[in-house]
Symmetry: C2
Subunit: 326 residues, 2 copies
DNA sequence: TTGTATGCGTTATCAG
DNA sequence: CTGATAACGCATACAA
């Protein structure tokens, strides 16, 4: 079933049917005739052919580092909400934390199959930037600050600074830190810097063995909590770069009957769903993930509609969630 | 940049370039000439035009009820793994638990834009079945049993039966149940039936006010735990249809200083990430979510390649995770 | 082994 | 307001 057959059945030209489908610049009479035929036949226009002509797919590519993460799924939910509402679809690509795959996906996407790209960034290597700059379709970066395009990110530095300040004011001085790779500027660098600067403000010197780095997964927290405790007998708090990592640390502490926060205080970032259910509940930072997705998608669609609107960098706020673990 | 220009630059016909791109039925000489031009120009064939000709998009539509769920994101991760490997892309549609939206998405998808559909089912109404049956492209249903197509699902009934049996054998007799809508056969009906049958085996009669129903979200657990406790003074255990619901119940119990499992035992389904970190850790059921996604995607791609392979129904196993909350 | 010609289903242009 | 016609970029039957 195609537009020609519909035209024939309705006694009009294909062009008129096309008008009916789009602008709708035709007489009431023909409109009804066409409507009737389409209703009877259940005709659906070919998206491919439309795309071939219009160069618009109404599909947005979304690249994420992993799917089973509380924070990321919230961002994706926010994106999906906007896209849905505006009649766009979402092509989801999961890199499983392999950053070369991001480049691969961007290259796949630019093969005319998406109208725009949303990159939920972890690392932005020079190679990434090169590929992105060569992109002719609009894109936004979420979660990382960058000057190459519009980005919407969180105030990781201040969040870490204030959270650390809070922990210190609660009487903790020997604070261990479990972070992630510095290739991730937002989570790896900024959160750690906020932590260190807050310590400095309080004139606390940190021995190197109180700082650990690992993956984004729970076992990082588990293993490095173990390492921190065995290497630092005076340690009285652990700050983890993400809630997931904090969960791993808590698991280790629980298994070894170490009391939280009595023996060791623990805090994380991201306000994962379980943070409020744990006992003691986890002190953490609320970021506006859903809003991040909504803002990003909204801007991207705007940009697609009006390519000349200027790029922007948008920093979102945060909220310290003061729970029982500190 | 299109195939004609490449052909001109390489001094061959467009058809030859097309052959180079596909079967590759040409002389070494021309092959190299074309390769050189493509390399220099960075030419990428138009997916749309290819699709318009071949009717293949290499895109699979995946419809899910919500994204921010441990279990669903695992299934999606499994699907993504397979699709990636086979050069397919994933169009993700999130219904936010509105089942009419599923139908909407199926209708959108069948507009020639996907080669197949994976439906992560919650409810399969007659309307759903009608729309699915009309579908001309292959599809599979995950998480629900159905006879209209290939489905891969979990043994919810036996899991609930054995888990309940375990709870009873641990000395609990006044067990409350917090479930979900019966429109969801797998989670709403089968888990509850397994629960009730296990009680019956032990000759335990259950007053109606020990059974509650609500949403898939934490507040269902929270509110209904409150209701159960206020209405049943002898209650000594609560079985929840999902871990998320159990987390809500635990939150209520914690807030009211009710000891788990001393005063009330709690169990759930799905082995959410936090289940092992909670203290006490949550007794739950491990389902093979990732495998479900992998199996589903693999079968779907097989079906696309060979449309005449027969449909099948595949029931996956489970494992009771005996933790401290019971 | 290669090239020519045609059509996939739609939209845009332009004349009527 | 409407219709004929020409693209969009590619793959394939067929001829060479």
């Amino acid at each position: 079933m195609n537009i020609n057959q519909i035209a024939k059945l309705a006694g009009v030209s294909p062009a008129t049917v096309s008008r009916y489908l789009n602008n709708g610049y035709l007489s009431e009479e023909k409109r009804q005739a066409i409507a009737k035929v389409i209703d009877e036949t259940g005709y659906i226009p070919s998206t491919q052919a439309q795309t071939l002509r219009t160069k618009k797919t109404k599909i947005i590519g979304v690249i994420i580092p992993k799917i089973d993460s509380d924070s990321i799924s919230q961002v994706v939910a926010g994106i999906g909400e906007v896209l849905n509402e505006k009649g766009y679809k979402m092509l989801l690509a999961n890199t499983d934390n392999h950053d070369e795959k991001e480049i691969e996906f961007i290259n796949t996407f630019k093969q005319n199959i998406v109208d725009g790209i949303i990159l939920l960034g972890t690392t932005l290597t020079p190679k990434h930037k090169k590929v992105l700059k060569d992109l002719t379709i609009p894109y936004v970066v979420l979660g990382q600050q960058t000057d190459i395009s519009t980005c919407i990110f969180h105030d990781d530095y201040t969040a870490a600074y204030e959270l650390t300040d809070y922990i210190i004011n609660k009487g903790h001085k020997n604070i261990g830190y479990i972070g992630v790779t510095e290739k991730d500027i937002a989570v790896g660098v900024n959160r750690r810097k906020g932590f260190l600067d807050a310590l400095e403000k309080h004139n606390i010197k940190l021995p190197a063995k109180l700082i650990k780095t690992g993956s984004f997964y729970m076992d990082n927290g588990y293993e490095n909590a173990k390492a921190l405790l065995s290497q630092n007998k005076n340690i009285d708090a652990i700050l983890c770069a993400t809630d997931t990592i904090a969960l791993g640390a808590i698991k280790y502490l629980n298994e070894n009957k170490i009391k939280i926060p009595g023996d060791i205080a623990v805090a994380g970032f991201g306000e994962s769903k379980s943070s409020s259910i744990l006992s003691p509940s986890l002190t953490t930072v609320h970021f506006y993930y859903r809003d991040c997705g909504i803002e990003g998608a909204t801007f991207l669609l705007d940009k697609i509609a009006k390519p000349d609107i200027p790029d922007k960098a948008m920093k979102l706020g945060f909220e310290i969630i003061k729970n029982q673990s500190v």
